[in-house]
Structure formats: C-alpha cells, structure tokens
Symmetry: C2
Subunit: 282 residues, 2 copies
C-alpha cells in the first residue's frame, strides 16, 4: 500500500495506470473509518484492478460553527484497516495542497444543495461537490463508491456527474448499522452510552414508517407526522427535519407512488446525526 | 473528419484513444471560425496525435438581452475550414444534450468572474467555466487551446484547471488582428464598414499605451486615462471599461512592476467588442 500526499503525484500515477488499461476504484473518505466505509472499500476491491482510498477532512464542507477541529482523525488505525482490505493507494493530501493560495473555484449543484441538510448547513454541499470534483480529477476513477447513509450527498454527486459529463460510474452502497440499528457514522464517537441508546429512536422511527408502508399507507404527511411524533417523544433528541422526498430531485412527495426517500436529521446534545430509508413499493 | 453529436459517443471514443496513448488536442469554439480560431487549430494539429474541435453556441454564457439568437452559425463553412486543417473529430452537440432536463450544476470561479466583463455580463463566466468543464470531461484533452483575445476567459480557465486539478494543459495563443489592427472576433460580422473603421480606435489605443510604457511610463492611472481619452474622442464608440490589471487575478495594478494586462471593452452601436494587450517590462 502506497501513501501519496501530493495531488500531482497521484494524478500522474493514475493517468499512467489508465493508459495501461487498469480500472480504478475510488473510495473518498474523511477517515475515522468504520464498517460502512469498509463495505465500500471491499466492493471497490472486488470490482477494480486498482483501489484508491482518500482520507481528507475537507475544510470547505464545514461551517465555522461545526466540528472541523474535533472531527476524529485516527490515522494509524485507518491505515491499518486499509492495508487489511488490500488498498493499493492511500491519498492523504494536506489542506494547503488541496486549497492553495488564491483558490476560488466551486462546483455547485443548485436546488438539491439547499434542501434537507442544506437548509441548516450552508455551503456544505458546495464544499462536498467541489472536493469530489477535485478528487475525481486527481484519481481519474472508473468507479467511485459512496454510502447511502449520506443520501443527499449521493443524489448531489449523481447529478453533478451527469450534468458535468464526468467519466465516472457512481456506486451507492447500503447503510451499515450497529446491532441496535444505529447507522454507522464517524460522528457516533461523540456520543456517550446514554446518547447512543437515545439515538436508536432514529432508526426505530424509520422501521415504523417502513411497516406503515407495508400495511398500505401511502400518504407522505401521515408517515412523516408519525415519524416526527415518535422521535419527539424522546426528549433528548432534537429533530432537525424528517421528510419524504423523491430520491433524485429531493423534492417532497405527497403520495408514495414509486421508491421514495424518507430522510431525517437530529441533534443529540452537540452531535448531529442523519439517517434515511428508501420506502419501496413492491 | 468525423462529426459527432452525442456527448457519450465522443467521450467513449476519446477514452479509448487515451488508452491507446494518443495525445488529444482540443479547440473549443462557438463556430463562426476566423483566422484566430485557425491559429489555435493549427497549433493543436502540430502538437497532438488527435485533434478535436467543438462547435457549440453555449446558451448558458449569454444573458437574456444578448445575441444568442443572432450569433452567426455558418456551419458549412466552419466544417470546410476544419476539414482543411486536418481536424479529426468535430463535436457538434445540441443544447438539449448539453443541458438535459433537470440540469443544475455550475462551476464558478469566484472573484475573477465578477470583474471586467463580468460586471456587465452577469453569469457569463459561470456559463463559460461550466461548459468548458463539461467539454473537458467529454473530450478528455491532453491540451486545450484558447485565444488571448478573451484574456479574462483564459485567466478564469487557468484558475479553474488549477483549482479543480483538471488533467489538462492550457495553451493560450496570441490575438490575431486584421490588417488595420482590429482583433478578429466572430462578432465583427455585426459591424458595417464605417463601424469597422471606428473600431480601429481600440487597438490604436492599446498601441498608444504600449508606446507610453516603452518610453518609461509606469503609472497605471496615467496609462488608463490616456487610453480612455483616446477612445472617447471617437463619438460612435462607447467605452465599457479600460483597466490595467494583473493577468492572473485580474485585480487593478497601480504601478506596472511586471507584465500587466491592459484590457478594454466597448460598444459600437449594438456590438460589444473586447481587446487587450499585455504590457511587458523587459
């Protein structure tokens, strides 16, 4: 496993590998790897001749009041995990190399970026789209792997790839959950034991909605309201939003007619968590 | 010479050529080709194994009040010129293929895009950066060729390539002028004979400034004022701006200390023209 820090060095290597007809699988991460990341890395390993993982806590997707500085950075452990999964290249750039002096170019996926999490996280998805565009240009992947956990991010990157004609296949893999149902997240490390138990209410609410749909419920308002009520019973959990939307344009649906995304975000003390499920009609 | 209309088809071809170690030279144009374009095409022909020219009048870089509909589209003549220059592929997409339903992703080079021409052409450079990013992703060029005539565009694309780590070499080639000094532009076709003669005042003003610098003048304000005065004597020409700026960040300079860009824009009747020169210190 080779660790590369300079964008130009990795890009040169990748262009050379492409000329030699290699398929490049790419998993962009902010590190603090958990089983969710592992599932992406394993899939990418199976499907490509070369596997690149980037670890970069991207400043441009954090607001000033967010957790950029305290975001976990267990680099040694991350590298060991990657080595164990047969990663070929770790890309480990510095913020200075990714955002050199005079940096001023941004990729914006309008509309989608202002909805759901975008309402409270101003510029977050501009930061995400921009760093992913940069990483795609550096790594030149055949396929890039993202988690369904960040459903809005996945929708935005899907749209960006299509709109900007990026020669990359997007693979979005299922949410991985802990034994109690909590969606894995690098931010779960912020939660103490009691908070972790309280956080279970989020996935429980999603299961409730799935049950309702199974029983024939199709009215978005009814489903969303019961999700909200269920979560609000837990006093330590502050719901940011719960919404039933189209998985592509993220606009609210009134009635479930095809697969719909039930997405939510909530705060437990200082920690913001997100979770979602795709409500499927058979 | 092969004419390709579908983005996906060209991209597939280009990726295949790259795998076969071809260098791809790319000249993006809006058609109405003149000797300025020809100089780019010829340079690209010399320096690459494959030569791609795109012809696309890009709607997203025109404001509603601008000349999108009347912009010249002499396609037959353009194709003949390209054939004569040994172009391998002409990319001729439709607006619908380039901006499909739901299109919402834009590349913005902040700062630079709001200066000079950006003050009066709102969203113009957002449209330029976005279409160029798209074209780069479709054509996958090793080198892309632009004219120094559009100095601000060149500065913005240079910044975009650097900021987004695009694996493309940018080549900016000198302005080509008519016998009287008028910078070639597809929009010169809008000018009648009298207007063409009036328009000579622009390049004459630039020559004047070059002379002043040669004689030792270094104060930007003095140079810009004499340019303005010279142009304003011609009553049929309405100056939009004349500015002496740094060629990279496009910010005004007070004193000429290194190569500086003297850029101007003016209207003659309904036609907006631009011109510039780089004032060089030996």
């Amino acid at each position: 496993m080779k660790i590369i820090r300079r964008p130009q060095e990795l890009q040169k290597l990748m262009l050379e590998l492409k000329r030699r007809n290699k398929t490049i699988g790419f998993v962009p991460t902010m590190g603090a790897l958990h089983a969710g990341h592992m599932s992406l890395i394993q899939a990418a390993r199976k499907e490509n001749s070369i596997l690149v993982v980037s670890i970069f806590v991207n400043p441009s997707q954090f607001s000033p009041n967010e957790d950029l500085n305290r975001y976990p950075r267990p680099l040694k452990q991350d590298l060991a995990l990657c080595r164990g999964c047969g990663v070929d290249f770790i890309f480990l750039p510095s913020p200075e190399d990714m955002y050199p002096e005079g940096f001023t170019t941004y990729v914006t996926v309008e509309g989608l970026s202002g909805l759901l999490c975008g309402r409270s996280r101003r510029n977050h998805f501009r930061g995400v789209a921009t760093i992913v565009a940069k990483l795609f240009n550096i790594v030149c992947p055949s396929s890039a792997y993202f988690g369904q956990k960040d459903a809005q991010q996945a929708a935005i990157i899907k749209r960006m790839i299509k709109d900007l004609n990026m020669p990359v296949k997007l693979k979005v893999l299922p949410i991985i959950r802990g034994s109690g149902g909590l969606a894995l997240s690098s931010r779960n490390i912020y939660l103490n034991q009691a908070e972790k138990e309280d956080a279970l209410v989020l996935s429980q609410a999603l299961r409730l909605a799935e049950q309702a749909v199974k029983k024939g419920q199709r009215t978005a308002g009814t489903i969303v309201n019961s999700v909200k009520k269920f979560i609000q019973k837990k006093r330590t959990v502050t719901l940011d939003y719960a919404a039933l939307v189209d998985p592509d344009d993220l606009l609210p649906v009134k009635t479930i007619r095809r697969d719909s995304l039930l997405a939510l975000a909530a705060r437990i003390h200082r920690t913001r968590l997100i979770d979602n499920t795709v409500l499927k009609l058979k």
